[in-house]
Each structure stands twice: as structure tokens, then as C-alpha cells.
């Protein structure tokens, strides 16, 4: 099969789901004629027209709020937030509204919407085009959070998200869009939400990561493998619901856990994984649970030296692996 990019996974999922189910539609800034600032929605406008591929006003709260309303009235909106950094104006609509519609109505209403947003850094995006935002939403019961790291998963998980009866946030690491290539199976398939994937088997220690960091961890694992350190790399894939059994099974095997994330260290989602391991996996552990993450500064600076300082690199990850293996 031919190798495709991750963003093709997005595009194919949208194209096919809109074809399969005419309730599905797309809205967001520049998703129409332009096809999205990353071209994730390219081709949709020509095929499905303005009403189903809608360029919205520049107002994120209403993008989500309108999507919620439209979901009440028999449609399945897939909202694009142009950059995850700009999702914050919609925080209230997501947290107070989308996430709670089912709960507060005791099941009388549901809210089948998907919110897609490119996130992450390493692309000279500066403070406002580089952020990771999954930790905010992972803390909100009622939301599902998906972060694919391969083209195959991207397509399969996005389809699952669209078919899910509850709100799903779908974060795509923008640096992986064209960097990461892989096969995408032909035809219709769905990758279930809620399952982690072991990307590399190993015995000495386990690493847990998502998004771009999965790839950096694989590189680091390759590097330390030369030194005889066998690393298991687990791609978390869906932050919520979290695949706790898979995490604990891996820790059981290796007795050592490293959590890697690009987001700021403090209060990042890796803290939750570390906390779970410290509580439920404690008796299996032979070493501290280590975290490698972005520093506690607002976000990645634009200039190169500081951008590089921020983003966890394969080298930094490899160093942590060596340290952990030596316990």
C-alpha cells in the first residue's frame, strides 16, 4: 500500500463520513473554499457545498455553541478550531455545556459533536500557535479526548469520534501532519476509542506518550536499544477514556515507568498517569515514576533556541530512559 500522511487520514475520514451519513457536517474558520489553514478539509467544500462545509464567523465560542445547538436538532457537527491555542474562548461552551448536556438532563439529551484542533509545537509558531491543551479537557468528565499519532489511527479514530454519541475532542499534532507517514487501510474501518497501543515491545522500562512525543520516544528507544536498554513504548491514543489496564499491564512487565508529554510539566495529563501508576501500580514498581515534559513557562517561544529548549527532544527522552533503566 502507498504511504499517506497523517493529515490525509483526517481528510479521508471526513470525506467518507460525510458521504456515509448526511447528518455529518463541518464548520470552522476557513474550512470552506480554502480547505482549512492546514488543508485538512480540502475538497469537502467542492463536494458538499457551503451549507455542510461552513466558513464561520471568527468566534470560537459560537462555533462550539452553534455546533451544540445543531446537534440537538438532528445533525452531527464536526467543528474545527483553527489552532488549539484559540479554543480557549470556547472553554465555557465545551466544559459547561457540551460535556454536561447528557448528565444534566439525566440522559434526555445527548450531544454528538466532534471538535477537531491542531495542537503542538516545533513549527515556529510562537506562544500562540504551539500549545498543548489536552490536560484542560482531560479533567472534564463527559468529554472524550483523542490524540492519534499515526495516519491509520487518525482515520479510524476520527470515524469513531464522528459516530460516537457523546462529545469528542480530537487533537491532531500539527507537526505530525506531513512528517508522519504510514499506511491507511482501504475502505471503512473504525479504531475504537479507549484503547492504547503498544508501539514497541520492551522489557526494561515503559514509556507512555501521545502525539508527536510517541515518535520521539520511539527514536529515543531505538537509540538506547543500542546500549542494551529494552524500552516498551505505549501510545496512549485516547486520553479519555484512558486505557488504565494497558498502562498497568505494561508497568507490570517492566516495573519502571516514564511519562513523556509536550505540555507544561505541572498539571499536565502525564501527572494523572503518574498518579495512577503510583496508586494502582505501586507494588509493581522498582523505581520512581519519571516525567519528561515542557517547562513551566507559558508556551514555546518563537525564536529557535528557546523553542528547542522547550520541546522535549529524543535526546532528552533518551537521557531519562538511561536514568530510569539504571535504577
Amino acid at each position: 500500500m502507498t504511504q499517506k500522511t497523517l493529515i490525509e487520514g483526517v481528510r479521508e475520514a471526513l470525506m467518507e463520513e460525510m458521504e456515509r451519513d448526511e447528518r455529518v457536517w463541518v464548520l470552522g474558520e476557513d474550512v470552506g473554499r480554502k480547505g482549512g489553514v492546514f488543508l485538512a478539509t480540502e475538497g469537502l467544500y467542492d463536494r458538499y457545498g457551503e451549507a455542510r462545509v461552513l466558513d464561520t464567523p471568527l468566534a470560537e465560542s459560537s462555533i462550539i455553541g452553534v455546533a451544540i445547538g445543531a446537534a440537538m436538532n438532528g445533525t452531527i457537527p464536526v467543528a474545527e478550531i483553527q489552532f488549539a491555542d484559540f479554543i480557549h474562548p470556547a472553554f465555557d461552551q465545551i466544559v459547561s455545556e457540551a460535556a454536561r448536556i447528557r448528565y444534566r438532563s439525566n440522559g434526555d439529551f445527548g450531544c454528538p459533536i466532534v471538535i477537531r484542533a491542531p495542537f503542538g509545537g516545533g513549527v515556529h509558531g510562537g506562544l500562540y500557535h504551539s500549545q498543548s491543551v489536552e490536560a484542560f479537557y482531560a479533567h472534564v468528565p463527559g468529554l472524550k479526548i483523542v490524540i492519534p499519532s499515526t495516519p491509520e489511527d487518525t482515520k479510524g479514530l476520527l470515524k469513531a469520534a464522528i459516530r460516537d454519541p457523546d462529545p469528542v475532542m480530537f487533537f491532531e499534532h500539527k507537526k505530525t501532519y506531513r512528517l508522519i507517514k504510514g499506511e491507511i487501510p482501504e475502505g471503512d474501518y473504525v479504531t475504537p476509542i479507549g484503547k492504547a497501543a503498544v508501539r514497541r515491545e520492551g522489557t526494561r522500562l515503559s514509556v507512555f506518550a501521545w502525539g508527536l512525543m510517541v515518535h520521539y520516544c520511539l527514536q529515543a528507544a531505538e537509540e538506547v536499544a543500542q546500549e542494551g536498554i529494552s524500552v516498551e513504548v505505549v501510545d496512549i491514543r485516547t486520553i479519555a477514556p484512558l486505557d488504565k489496564p494497558a498502562i498497568l499491564a505494561s508497568v507490570e512487565k517492566t516495573a519502571r515507568a516514564l511519562v513523556v508529554y509536550e505540555d507544561n510539566l505541572t498539571g499536565g495529563f502525564g501527572a494523572e498517569i503518574a498518579a495512577i501508576i503510583a496508586e494502582e501500580g505501586f507494588e509493581m514498581l522498582d523505581a520512581p515514576v519519571i516525567r519528561v515534559a515542557g517547562p513551566d513557562v507559558p508556551a514555546m517561544p518563537f525564536n529557535k533556541p528557546q523553542e528547542e529548549f522547550f520541546l522535549p527532544s529524543p535526546e532528552r527522552i533518551a537521557t531519562a530512559m538511561r536514568k530510569l533503566a539504571s535504577y
Partner: protein, 315 residues
């Protein structure tokens, strides 16, 4: 419509009694707002048109088909409460069957939901109108602007009724906006702006009816500013004597929409005194029955706290 207003008032008053008796921990009410609400409900097609309400819309929801019992179940936080199964505070309405969108406590978010419902209706070619309500304070929220803007861009079958009672809890109109009448904003969205005395049932009915027809005819959205009187304190946690002059409070009573309509009905001879008496008695009886039922009804199970976060397989 008179009957509906009377019932709403009876339910509302009882709530305050229950609160004083220590049976209802929280009460927020719509006394003084009944005319515009009942008028609007009657201008809509129930079960087809949508209401995206706010917390004062008791009369609106009753007129759309909720019952005094439904409401009292929520006052007592009972499992059977159709709005939320006792999860939300009272006056957080919601019913998929009646097309009353479930409401949070957050002021303003609902405006975008109504725009979304209307957009879906338009794109799907459905003959449905989305009506949403908010107080004049709520119009300051960003979401209010964003929702109105959508309504204007897409000429949506959307109606926003601002129930302007001059206060947002204690914050007076002059500190809320730099204009006297919020309907002035309609021109900034390219939609129709209408001002109506929200205490005048017939005028309110005519205004909403025209807006509904505009929406159905594909002629776009309407912003209605309905001046009303807030008879009670903001809620049972508030005491409006702290911030409203005595004279103002006394003047309010002369603006009772129910008294006004009753007077009209009696004067015009449309309704006889004894009919009025029986309307009042029926309302009281209905409320009595509702309270008795709701008080005796079961509370939700503690374990059920964990349910309905996500869709349930067997639900």
C-alpha cells in the same frame, strides 16, 4: 392564556412558601414576566418549534406543556423530575419531548444553541423556529453577540426575547448597557428589532407572532425587547430591598401582567367573575396535587450519581 398565567403564578408563589417552610432550598421565579412568556408560547407550534429557555421561563414552559407536577418534582430534587432527574436546581428546564432545550445555569450560552438549532432547521429544510430567552443582563455576554451575529449572517428562523426587568440581580440597567433599549442592537446584526411591553399579553402575542411569521417566511431573525417587572427578589438568596428604592418596589405592583389581563377580560366581558374564581381554584388545586405528589416522590439513588455521564448501552 389567562389560565396559563394564573397557573404559573400559583406554582411560583407556592415555591416561595415551600422555601420559607425549609422544603425548597432554592427558588428563582418569573413573577411579573408571565405575559411575554405565555404570549410567546402561544405564538409557537409546540413540539415543532423550539424553546431554549432561561431560568425565569416557568410560565413559558408550562404553556408549552410542562405540568405543575413536573416543576414541583424539580423543586424537591426528585428522581422523577423530567428536567434533570433532580440533578439541577429548580428552574433549569429541559424536555426533549417538548423541544425545550436543557439549560445550564450559565447566562448567555443558550443564545448560540438556539442559533445552532435554527441553522440545522434551515439546512435540513425543516419548518421550525428557535425561540430563546434571556435577561437584559445576559445581553452583555459575548455569547449573546456571537449568537445574534450567526442569526443575522444566515437569516435564521431565530427569535431572541430579552426579558428586560431593569436589574441583573442588583446591577441596574444603566451599569449594564449604555442604551435604554436593547432592541437597538438588532440593526447591527441585520435582523429585525422589536420593542414591546412585556406586561401586555396581547401586544406581546402580536409581536412574537409577527416574528414567528418572519422566521417561517424565510425573512430572518428577530430581537425582541420586552420590558417586564421583576416582582420578587432575584432568588431566594437575595433581598432586593437592599438595593432597590422602596418607591420603585411599590410601583412594580401596578405592573402586574395578570391583573392587567384580568382587568381587560372582565372589562370586555370576555370572562365572568365566577369563571375567574374557578380558574384560580383549579390552579390552586393543581399546585396542591403537584406538591403532594412531588413531596412524596422518591429521591434519586446515591449510586446513580455515576450514571448518564456518557451514553449508556441499555439506556
Amino acid at each position: 392564556m389567562y389560565r396559563q398565567m394564573v397557573l404559573a403564578r400559583a406554582v411560583d408563589r407556592r415555591m416561595w412558601v415551600l422555601n420559607r417552610q425549609g422544603k425548597a432550598p432554592f427558588v428563582i421565579s418569573g413573577q411579573g414576566h408571565e405575559a411575554i412568556q405565555v404570549a410567546a408560547a402561544n405564538a409557537m407550534r409546540p413540539g415543532s418549534d423550539w424553546l431554549v429557555p432561561y431560568y425565569r421561563d416557568l410560565a413559558f414552559c408550562l404553556a408549552l406543556g410542562q405540568t405543575a407536577r413536573d416543576f414541583m418534582l424539580s423543586v424537591f430534587g426528585r428522581a422523577e423530575d423530567p428536567n434533570s432527574g433532580g440533578r439541577q436546581m429548580p428552574s433549569h428546564f429541559g424536555s426533549s419531548r417538548l423541544r425545550i432545550m436543557t439549560k445550564s445555569s450559565v447566562v448567555g450560552t443558550q443564545i448560540c444553541h438556539a442559533a445552532g438549532i435554527a441553522y440545522a432547521a434551515k439546512v435540513r429544510g425543516l419548518d421550525e423556529v428557535a425561540v430563546t430567552c434571556i435577561g437584559e443582563g445576559g445581553t452583555s455576554q459575548g455569547d449573546w453577540h456571537e449568537g445574534l451575529n450567526w442569526a443575522g449572517v444566515h437569516r435564521l428562523p431565530f427569535i431572541c426575547i430579552v426579558q428586560d426587568n431593569d436589574y441583573a440581580i442588583s446591577v441596574p440597567h444603566r451599569l449594564q448597557m449604555g442604551i435604554d433599549n436593547v432592541a437597538k442592537r438588532a440593526v447591527g446584526y441585520g435582523i429585525a428589532g422589536v420593542t414591546v411591553d412585556g406586561g401586555d399579553l396581547l401586544a406581546s402575542y402580536a409581536a412574537v407572532k409577527a416574528a414567528v411569521e418572519r422566521a417561517r417566511g424565510g425573512d430572518g431573525a428577530t430581537l425582541i425587547s420586552a420590558k417586564v417587572a421583576r416582582f420578587t427578589s432575584h432568588s431566594s438568596d437575595d433581598d432586593q430591598r437592599r438595593y432597590r428604592p422602596q418607591a420603585e418596589l411599590e410601583a412594580l405592583l401596578r405592573r402586574d401582567p395578570i391583573e392587567r389581563f384580568r382587568g381587560y377580560l372582565l372589562d370586555e366581558g370576555v370572562m365572568a367573575e365566577d369563571v375567574d374564581d374557578s380558574v384560580q381554584q383549579e390552579a390552586t388545586a393543581e399546585v396542591d396535587a403537584a406538591v403532594t405528589y412531588a413531596e412524596a416522590a422518591a429521591s434519586p439513588l446515591a449510586e446513580d450519581t455515576l450514571r448518564n455521564v456518557f451514553a449508556e448501552e441499555s439506556a
